[in-house]
């Protein structure tokens, strides 16, 4: 029988803190999704079409009207209905309302640009919602059991004028660029649509925290992280066998890159970070990815400088991708099309040997 995890538990597993959000904050995230559905796109007549019809052709008036409408029709009824549950999250409710206003402003901006481009008042169906599977079962080699993720409300959206899908969410308690959330959306998309999907392009992640933050993340980069995301989910569900490394198959080509990992540890030490490589590196599509375990609470504050340093020292063509995921550091090096020649520079300490 599969081990069940709810989506909030999965999200918690992907966070650096590993702490699940409070139920009230989870509720606000769910309310945000409901408000977004009503305002933007569920059904043939999303709310914005009905209210912009008799409004002046003026961006600010559209924004004001949609905000007013969002409060009266979407937010106020939910506040009243969920008042008891939201009582402890009063502060977050203020941020939630700010986020809803920013959502309205952003969506009106999208509609306005559409109007400017086409010369017609936008019609229904511009915000296209792609629903994802409500439940998802993961099976991975080596796991003691399958993991079933429930309570999935996440969805992807195709916004006016955009070519790639985006994920839109309320994100009140997290910082960073949202790579964890993006990984999760990628995982859900794969699971919901098993047919081969494009491995190129970008996934846009639009977070309201409460200000809008938009990040476009390379899908190839997300694919590289999928295995680790699954590992974290497996760990949260307790289905990993004891002592199993992140990367399995010790006979693989990954062994060839072990020394490269040691060098990365040395470079990090120069930055004052005592780190270690966890497990074997993952190799995929001409890239080798190292999972570096950092001491608790430590982050690389200048990833660009570190990337440049690594590029220079390892004589790479392109700087490596460096990202923090759930308290770990991922370093992906481009190794495609040419072998890596590295040498042991003189004067370095050899504690990592």
């Amino acid at each position: 029988m599969a081990v069940y995890l709810t989506m909030p538990q999965v999200r918690a597993a992907l966070l650096e803190s590993g702490v699940e959000q409070r139920p009230s904050t989870q509720l606000l995230a769910r309310l945000f999704i409901e408000v977004m559905d009503e305002l933007l796109g569920q059904g043939r007549s999303p709310h914005w079409t009905a209210i912009l019809g008799d409004e002046d052709l003026d961006r600010e008036r559209w924004q004001q009207r949609l905000i007013e409408h969002a409060y009266r029709q979407c937010v106020a009824p939910r506040l009243l209905r969920q008042r008891a549950a939201l009582d402890p999250a009063a502060k977050e409710v203020c941020l939630f309302w700010e986020a809803v206003q920013n959502l309205c402003i952003w969506s009106v901006d999208s509609l306005w640009e559409r109007y400017r481009a086409r010369g017609r008042v936008p019609e229904a169906g511009l915000f296209n919602k792609i629903g994802l599977a409500k439940d998802l079962e993961l099976h991975e080699p080596g796991w003691t059991d399958a993991v079933r993720i429930t309570d999935i409300r996440e969805a992807l959206w195709l916004t006016p004028g955009a070519e790639s899908y985006c994920a839109i969410e309320l994100c009140l308690n997290t910082d960073g660029e949202g790579i964890e959330q993006a990984c999760l959306y990628r995982l859900l998309t794969h699971a919901s649509y098993p047919a081969p999907r494009a491995r190129k392009g970008m996934l846009r992640l639009i977070s309201f925290s409460p200000a809008r933050q938009e990040t476009a993340i390379d899908i190839a980069r997300l694919d590289m992280l999928q295995r680790h995301v699954k590992h974290l989910i497996g760990r949260a569900a307790g289905v990993l066998p004891a002592g199993l490394p992140v990367s399995v198959d010790p006979a693989s080509a990954a062994h060839n890159y072990v020394n490269l990992g040691k060098m990365l540890v040395e470079i990090l030490r120069n930055y004052g970070i005592e780190a270690s490589v966890a497990g074997m590196p993952a190799i995929e599509q001409g890239k080798v990815q190292f999972l570096i375990e950092l001491p608790p609470g430590i982050r690389v504050t200048q990833p660009e400088a570190l990337a440049d340093d690594i590029k220079q020292r390892l004589r790479l063509k392109t700087p490596p991708l460096i990202e923090h995921v759930a308290g770990h550091l991922f370093v992906s090096l481009e190794v495609r099309a040419r072998p890596i020649f590295f040498f042991w520079p003189t004067g370095w300490t050899s504690s990592a040997k």
Partner: protein, 664 residues
């Protein structure tokens, strides 16, 4: 397959409601009369009036819906395929006369404004289609007007330097349209404000404000200035202004586009059996409309039993105009019944599918049962027949008719539906209308006062004769200068001793702005002179709205339980027995011993802030209003109908929206 009972709906509540099914043969004579008179209006250039009457449930509103469907058609998007601007066939306006006598013309104006913005078969609103056509009439090439109309709704593109000196199409279109509106004004004597409003509409600007102005004739001061509108003179009767606006719209539509005004539920104008004011005012209004316009068809619907009363109350000359032509909606004949039933049955797709190939045209109903019913009811109305068929259908489907609900249960359900609807659509714009019609009904029911007519007090919207003497009620739900002006007049009247026992009513959702210093000063002066300020809650207003709606339906014969009409007496009795606390509070607020005198300034300040921010922390509110947190918390606790609270910490206040709980 889920089978819906095709006879479940037996009442058409509104002429804009699409009839579930229609048998043209039924009331064909009256329908033809309406069409004939409409043709006369088109040809002769004079307004006409038809009085339609029949038994309760005879299909008066259904007939209006048929007229509307035949004249307007079903809206669809044909705009792209129509090469030149066409006039709407008619301007169709359906008025349900749920109004106080002294607000009748304003009620007509509001309905007119709402219906003018309903779409025609070309996809535009009735008013826009008419306006475009009227503008096109000034041009040799009518297509040009359509092109300009579309161009002006395109986003403005920045002018490139190399286009400098070339004709700016949008600018030219704007100039041309402005010139044409001026000519239209000269031709039709539209007046300064209506011309300005139409200019904005033609140029694709301020559509929402245009609609609001047509609705009430009042907008916030700043918006009035922006739109180039002038406030109406203070001494002008708002009823006259409203009537003038309706006449101006009729002049805008030339004789090729008649204005069809349908008045339904005339009986609802009578607040009590001995009340004459509402019907008298209606007679005057219809008479004025007939005389002052040249292209209006007035269709009024009443129950046949009400004709005598109408004749008795309405002035002779006015009645002659109102009942210039009369159309009787006769009971159903057997042949009509046999036509009606199959059409109804086929209106439900699942039933229609099952009926294919059946030799019995009435299947699944039994012809002998229908024949028996028709024999036993020689004056059978469509509603009675539909109700009978509903039971027969249930018997076929479930083996037995639906269990009968008691009158109590039925009225409770109807009231709950009406109340929910009223709460959801509740808006402070409707407060005057709700109170003007509903308050006399409530006070008469509770025996707290009887409405009296006294035209000598211009700023008293309602006057009641109560045990403690005359009670004057003035609605002060305006904003900006109109509010200040009204309060100033009231203050003057009170200080000069012309009005005593005055109650100023202001919707509790309408804050008195912090910036309205003069209005606050007048109000404070009034309350010092023992004038009561009553702030009815949204819940109280919705309850009154639901009550007056039920009562109006009952009076007009539109409230029926299984085909049997429910009289107004039953509704009044039920409402009195289940009087909502919010209504009781409101009525108590009018009695001398229970009145609260004095203005709560902090409430208005907080309300204004919360309506602006929607959700705000209590400490932030206290800081912005320069008050201490305890005072704010006490104010919130005293007005939980307006403010919601999240305990936090921090304590957060949010604006409550009427009807939001039921919507959720």
């Amino acid at each position: 397959m889920d089978i819906i009972n095709p006879f479940a709906q037996s009442i058409v509540t509104d002429a804009w409601q699409a009839p579930q099914s229609d048998v043209p043969m039924i009331h064909a004579g009256v329908f033809e009369l309406c069409c004939e008179v409409l043709e006369q209006v088109r040809r002769s250039g004079g307004s006409r009036s038809v009085l339609l009457h029949g038994l309760p449930g005879s299909g008066k509103t259904h007939l209006l819906a048929r007229v509307r469907t035949n004249l307007n058609g079903v809206p669809n998007d044909m705009a792209a395929t129509v090469p030149v601007p066409l006039p709407p066939n008619v301007l169709f306006i359906a008025v349900r006369l749920r109004s106080g006598a002294r607000m009748l013309c304003r009620h007509l104006r509001r309905t007119l404004a709402a219906d003018l913005f309903r779409p025609t078969r070309l996809g535009m609103s009735q008013l826009e289609q008419l306006l475009l056509y009227r503008l096109a009439q000034f041009l040799k090439d009518r297509k040009k007007a359509q092109k300009w109309w579309i161009d002006l709704r395109q986003p403005q593109k920045p002018r490139r330097w190399w286009l400098f000196g070339k004709t700016d199409e949008a600018g030219r279109a704007k100039q041309e349209i402005e010139a044409m509106i001026e000519r239209l004004d000269e031709q039709a004597a539209l007046g300064r404000n209506l011309s300005a409003i139409l200019r904005h509409l033609a140029l694709g600007r301020h559509r929402r404000n245009v609609r609001d102005w047509l609705h009430d004739g009042v907008l916030p001061d700043g918006v009035m200035r922006d739109l180039g509108l002038v406030a109406a003179p203070e001494d002008e009767d708002p009823e006259e202004q409203a009537l003038d606006m309706v006449c101006a719209v009729s002049r805008l539509a030339d004789s090729s586009t008649p204005l069809v005004l349908c008045f339904d539920q005339v009986e609802a104008l009578q607040t009590s059996p001995d009340d004459v004011e509402g019907l008298y005012a209606f007679g005057r209004m219809v008479s004025s409309l007939r005389d002052k316009t040249r292209n209006t068809l007035l269709l009024s619907c009443v129950q046949t039993a009400f004709l005598d009363k109408l004749d008795e109350i309405i002035r002779g000359a006015d009645m002659d105009r109102l009942a210039e032509k009369a159309g009787l909606l006769k009971p159903l004949s057997v042949e009509e019944a046999k036509r009606l039933i199959p059409v109804r049955l086929d209106s439900a797709p699942a039933v229609a599918k099952m009926r294919k190939g059946q030799s019995n045209k009435l299947w699944p109903l039994k012809p002998n049962r229908i024949a028996e019913f028709m024999d036993g009811n020689p004056a059978c109305t469509p509603r009675q027949l539909i109700s009978f068929c509903e039971d027969e259908f249930e018997k076929w489907r479930h083996g037995q008719a639906q269990p009968a609900t008691s009158l109590e249960e039925f009225l409770t359900l109807q009231y709950t539906l009406e109340y929910g609807q009223a709460l959801r659509s509740s808006h402070s714009h409707q407060t005057d209308e709700t109170l003007a019609h509903g308050l006399p009904l409530v006070l008469a029911l509770l025996g707290r006062g009887k409405q009296v007519v006294d035209t000598g007090h211009k700023y008293a919207d309602l006057i009641f004769e109560a045990d403690a003497g005359r009670l004057y009620i003035s609605f002060c739900n305006q904003a900006g200068n109109p509010l200040t002006a009204r309060l100033a007049k009231l203050r003057e009247a009170v200080e000069q001793g012309r009005i005593a026992n005055l109650v100023v009513v202001r919707d509790s959702r309408l804050a008195i702005s912090q910036h309205a210093k003069k209005a606050q000063e007048h109000l404070d002066a009034l309350t010092q002179r023992e004038v009561t300020l009553l702030r009815p809650s949204a819940e109280g207003l919705a309850a009154i709205e639901a009550f007056r709606s039920l009562l109006s339906d009952a009076k007009a014969g539109d409230l029926a339980k299984r085909g049997e009409g429910i009289g107004p007496g039953a509704v009044e009795e039920w409402f009195k027995a289940h009087l909502p606390p919010s209504v009781a509070d409101l009525a108590d607020g009018l009695t001398p011993e229970r009145r609260l005198i004095g203005r709560e300034a902090i409430y208005d300040e907080l309300l204004e802030l919360v309506q602006q921010e929607r959700i705000v922390r209590l400490d932030e509110a206290a800081e912005r209003l320069h008050r201490d947190a305890e005072t704010i918390a006490a104010c919130v606790a005293g007005h939980l109908d307006q403010f919601g609270i999240l305990q936090g910490p921090p304590l957060v206040i949010f604006e409550k929206v009427a009807g939001a709980e039921s919507a959720a």
